[in-house]
Symmetry: C2
Subunit: 360 residues, 2 copies
């Protein structure tokens, strides 16, 4: 008897007969790299979450969604934060939980309106430590001008969890002038980064148990919606915005290249990498292109708009060291290629897993 379409659709997500697809089959289990924001994270979404979710899932399922409500466009985003340790030079899990979600909204061109906060606490965590984290959340929310409107608290047994995990979800109103999507990057676009890269990752690693090293680097965690508003105020048509967090500039540029079907050509000489980040990366054997940022953005605009956007960024506290670092090309679509300081070229691949686990 022929199956109906409905039966076929159901069979496609029949978990009884579900088999790990090839990209996941190398390990039958969750690995740290699945949370790293690189190729393994993308495979988990594409080959496990989306098929298992089935028709209820939006095919895009990106860092944020844009929903139409009446005459308004609403951005909606969520992130969980599991950074170790809870406090690090320049910030804490509380700052990340606010700024990270605010920035996901900002990258859709939205001004944040409201955040939810959901805590998963480990039994035995000092209440004074929790209060310090919650105070950091409140202080960051006040600074970002976003209200904490609803929340939840769960407690898990001692030994599970790691003191405090935080999830925030955010709602923002998309600027009426904005149509900002990875798919809008196009050949000829200027690629601009808002400042020094690699700072957050190095700051967290510098104080991680068993790995402490001396550095003056402090996390760059910051809310970026004000910077985005200043950029929109120039009247420039902003094509694409992203905050290069997990997986760093390398992962983010690869995702945009793939989404838009363009090549990206980077000029390594002009990448803003502070000396102490370079030193720390040398020490740890890391490539700064893949180290996380928490207060930086990458913007794609037409070349003729680049100067005024750069000028607006330079005038903003969070864009003072903005620099044009490359451009989009028709060659090597989906790929990122860097011109090295020595005049050669190298492919900047999408990282597989993560260089630095538990960084946000």
């Amino acid at each position: 008897m022929p199956e109906t379409n409905a039966e076929t659709a159901r069979a496609a997500v029949d978990m009884e007969s579900w088999v790990c697809p090839a990209p996941l089959r190398d390990s039958p289990n969750v690995l740290m790299g699945h949370g790293g924001g690189g190729a393994m994270s993308a495979e988990l979404i594409e080959h496990l979450f989306l098929p298992a979710f089935g028709p209820a899932a939006d095919a895009a399922m990106g860092d944020s969604a844009v929903l139409r409500v009446g005459a308004e466009r609403l951005a909606f985003s969520t992130d969980s934060y599991v950074v170790k340790p809870l406090f690090f030079p320049g910030g804490s899990i509380g700052d990340l939980a606010v700024n990270g979600t605010v920035n996901d909204l900002a990258m859709a061109g939205a001004q944040p309106v409201a955040l939810s906060t959901a805590f998963i606490l480990e039994e035995g965590t000092a209440l004074s430590e929790l209060a310090r984290v919650a105070h950091a959340v409140g202080t960051a929310a006040l600074a970002a001008g976003v209200k904490l409107v609803t929340g939840d608290t769960k407690v898990v047994d001692s030994g599970h969890g790691d003191g405090v995990y935080i999830n925030t979800a955010g709602i923002g109103l998309v600027d009426k002038r904005a149509d900002i999507r990875p798919q809008r990057a196009r050949p000829g676009d200027a690629v601009i980064v808002s400042g020094d890269i690699g700072v957050h990752g190095v700051a967290v690693m510098s104080c991680r148990e068993g790995l402490e090293f001396a550095t003056t680097v402090a996390s760059d965690t910051a809310p970026l919606h004000g910077l985005v508003a200043a950029m929109l105020d120039t009247g420039a048509d902003i094509h694409t915005l992203r905050d290069p967090t997990r997986g760093g500039l390398g992962a983010t540029l690869n995702e945009i290249a793939k989404a838009a079907g363009v090549g990206i050509s980077l000029d390594e000489k002009v990448l803003p990498i502070p000396g102490d980040v370079r030193d720390a990366c040398g020490l740890l054997g890391l490539d700064p292109l893949y180290v996380a940022n928490e207060g930086k953005l990458i913007v794609f605009v037409a070349l003729e708009d680049a100067d005024r956007v750069l000028a607006a960024m330079h005038a903003h506290p969070y864009g003072g060291r903005a620099a044009m670092i490359g451009h989009c090309v028709t060659e090597h679509p989906g790929m990122v290629v860097a011109r090295t300081a020595l005049g050669g070229t190298r492919v900047v691949d999408l990282p597989i897993g993560e260089q630095l686990p538990r960084i946000c």
Copy 2:
């Protein structure tokens, strides 16, 4: 030199000098009960989260928030799910993660529009297990008619986490006819429950490691926004709605009594408690009034509206065993008092911690 107001405000949430207030001082650490939805959870919010968050926090910070966006009212809610085990009779963490957040929206009179899903995975969790959970999320979302629009995945080290934690946040559109708040419960109101109580908690406990017992009880996890719409369709003015999850009917009724400043009088004889729930509670030494439900609601309406609301509930698949179980009184404001089967009365207190940890 006199402090400015701003300095005073800052000092009020100065974490360097923060001291646990009296209700929390009995333990300097997080206890399981802080996640139980009872008095300890309320104290944590009132005495730790709200002061530490400071002015960025909405004073209400309830299960959901209602935001005005243009001409629409938007409900926004979040919950994390840490239930043990991940699968139990009648459902899974995936069902709870969808239905729980959908129901928080529904209790504000909203139809759900979009959900975010954020997974915190334990390194080493079988991908096949994760796929089963994700499939349960997708199936429940399809059944509830809500889209999964954005998400996040983090991985924590093996031994931390418990396989899978899920956070969902939800956005819903509040029905234009609805003004549903705990504060609107008033003396004379009928108190109606939509069906059998205590079912979810007993189902989860029956299969928990070290505690297995034979029972036919399956979780009642279900999305309730359709039932709420049917109740609104009667034209009745619904004053208050709540889903009695953690802490059960006892905790929820106490919260409403306190928020509205009314007394609640319950008739124990008519409480719909299935025989096998009663048996299991006897075995475990639990009071069914405090056992969690995941597919039930409590509604407060004027007595003259009770019959038509009950009729609409009885006609709905999730309200077939709805019953009027009590009413609001001017006596004992803020308190819940039950008339026992023997004709006496007893105070139904807000539970302190939780009878059943990790139930959702």
